[in-house]
Symmetry: D3
Subunit: 159 residues, 6 copies
């Protein structure tokens, strides 16, 4: 069985994995977070935000998520700091009154960026929550997951 790489076998203490001997490659990761807004919030957004397609709620979420990607190593204790080279966050809506945040991150480095993509998607979703919570607090971030990663030892695509 695979090991928990963040835990030192000898001491059972957590530590940052040593990546100094790994190859520098171009790595990407895509994650999504789906936030269930409910009918009332979605209606409000459609009247303003979605009509113009560049209203403040989603744009604020995109900016917050992008900035959070750059803070990942500050938030997740054993994440490696990485010089992010591209971040693209998009937000779509669907008929189930949901907003779907997609966050794609690219780096040329020694370790992957799945935590960066997941963190960016999560904080964008939390920002949508914050900006709509005066309308309703019934919102649920109902699915945050990794969709795809490339460039490491093995690629990954969600089944």
């Amino acid at each position: 069985m695979k090991n928990f790489s963040h835990i030192d076998d000898d001491s059972n203490q957590p530590r940052m994995v040593d990546v100094s001997d790994k190859a520098v490659t171009r790595r990407t990761a895509i994650a999504t977070a789906i936030i269930s807004l409910g009918k009332q919030v979605m209606l409000g957004l459609k009247q303003g935000e979605l009509h113009t397609k560049k209203g403040p709620v989603f744009q604020t979420a995109i900016i917050a998520g992008t900035m959070a990607v750059k803070k990942t190593a500050e938030l997740i204790p054993f994440c490696h700091p990485l010089p992010t080279e591209a971040i693209k966050i998009t937000i779509d809506t669907n008929d189930a009154f949901e907003a779907v945040v997609t966050c794609e991150v690219t780096v040329t480095g020694k370790t992957g960026v799945e935590m960066e993509a997941l963190t960016g998607a999560s904080v964008a979703a939390l920002t949508i929550y914050d900006m709509c919570k005066a309308v309703s607090q019934e919102m649920v971030i109902r699915e945050t997951k990794l969709i795809k990663k490339t460039g490491g030892k093995s690629d990954y695509t969600a089944g």
Copy 2:
């Protein structure tokens, strides 16, 4: 219909809500994030972590979540900075191979702490993901939501 309080009616631009005239009260919020670990990760955790009940994965997540609560106003653009007075994060597991993070935050201030509780729960769940991802990347943070808040204009309890 309620307004989107973070958006200025005149300019349609986002802004921080003015809370300077609100009353200083004791406010609490509780949020949860449920992460579906899958059988393989749960088995690994049970062999180490859950046996001793203080193993490194959950404890690291508690610490990361606590520190993230204190960073909420740095992550969410229009959140007010608040002098947090208590943060308690607990993590339980269930038979569906899930870990349930609960984050409770208390402050004496002019505005609520639901974003702090949601951010703490989210970052704790992301940290569990990070520490277990060498075992599996199928994990999904499948539900992040507000459970309860007290001390503001109106209390809230999830239905």
Copy 3:
């Protein structure tokens, strides 16, 4: 002559001014930063941004400025950390191809928020620069100053 309050008379070393005995009052400050964009950038903005009045450049600047207000005590060595209660940033344009950023900050505390207002206006202007610099690097932030402050020992209004 007034003293440089941040410099200790005895040691000639800088230090944070002791405000522990000052009264808690409601304090506001307004600062502006004017950025000269030039004709080419302004034309580009008018074709997209200014037509819709909520395009991404100015909105990104508003968000960045708001977040920078909350970071003031982290940037300016002897500034006191303050629980900001309201931040409002607006951006207007004029016929001289300039954008005028106005940043208003409110706090209930023991010391004023002029540095917060100046920092918010500055970082909003820097963000406009960043987002338009692919079009031209001739832009100049040509005036950053305090417009008004209230609530301290003496109010101030720019002459």
Copy 4:
């Protein structure tokens, strides 16, 4: 006409520009910020600070500006994080009662450092303002601009 590179053509949403395919080169940028102190502040500084040439006001500003350079990607939403290799800030005064901050930044990377230089100069000027504001609040940061950059697709020197 050149594009606003930070804005995605398809979605009209802001994003971080993808620099993953750009060449790693040695890049430098020099920016200045001129702060008009006024006669009274300059007189005070000359009696202490300028006499010794290493008094606390300018030195504090140099340190604050240097630390701000390292925070640029945290302040400007779509700036790339970069491993700064050299930062040099100097402050001179002139007969018009002004202090002229010059900030030079060097990096070996895939994108330029003009925002780093501009941010360092701005925060150094704001710090001078903070440390002298007990004497006068009439100060104006009256010109912040890029002087020179090298190492990118095209060099730039202010006309």
Copy 5:
């Protein structure tokens, strides 16, 4: 025997102590850090720094320590964020080739500031190390401790 207040008795997990019911009082703490510089570093400092009494090494350390005080709750996982009202750092030298950093912090709040004073003294000492390490790496920060605290349930003075 007294409890470890940061550890929850039931779960044996760490948490932030709940201070929401504590009284708001004026609290101070003083800590010191003594750094043994050695003869060679001290000689170099005396030729520049100590002659003028405001040279760059000690002043940079004072500024770094002051800024670190404001970051204490970001560094120490279970520290409460506090609105610091005064920070004073001084640095003296003695005949044993040592520099003695003293850091005094004041706050009006619900919990003490000993960690803030200790963190400020530690980071000031680390900054002295950084700025002198080109001369020698034999330096040792040989004593960091709390000297005095007032304003809490019980005052403390080092024996």
Copy 6:
């Protein structure tokens, strides 16, 4: 005699050393911080923490120290930001009622990581202090120093 590399010879002002022309090599540094806990604290730890060898105090300190390593360039004014590749912190106890924190840092870069190792060890020790201070405030961090560094112009091992 060696120079103080952080101080510019011409201006006597501090600055970040220019490392842009230095070679990229694999660099490591090891530092320790020894905290004298006293009998009472050690007894308390032995009853819980040391019995299980993974109790919350030391683990919290390891996490805080690891996160502080990543913040070194934010804390020490003229430190270069570096993409840390490995961080390992261990904590042992001895018969003199002391805890010995050892922090080892690895990077592939143009400058050494001794400040990162020293900062990580210091903040881990401060965190132990914070978590045990309800039991006693007599603790002293009595020795923080560099043990070894490799990969730069000259290696170093404490005598």
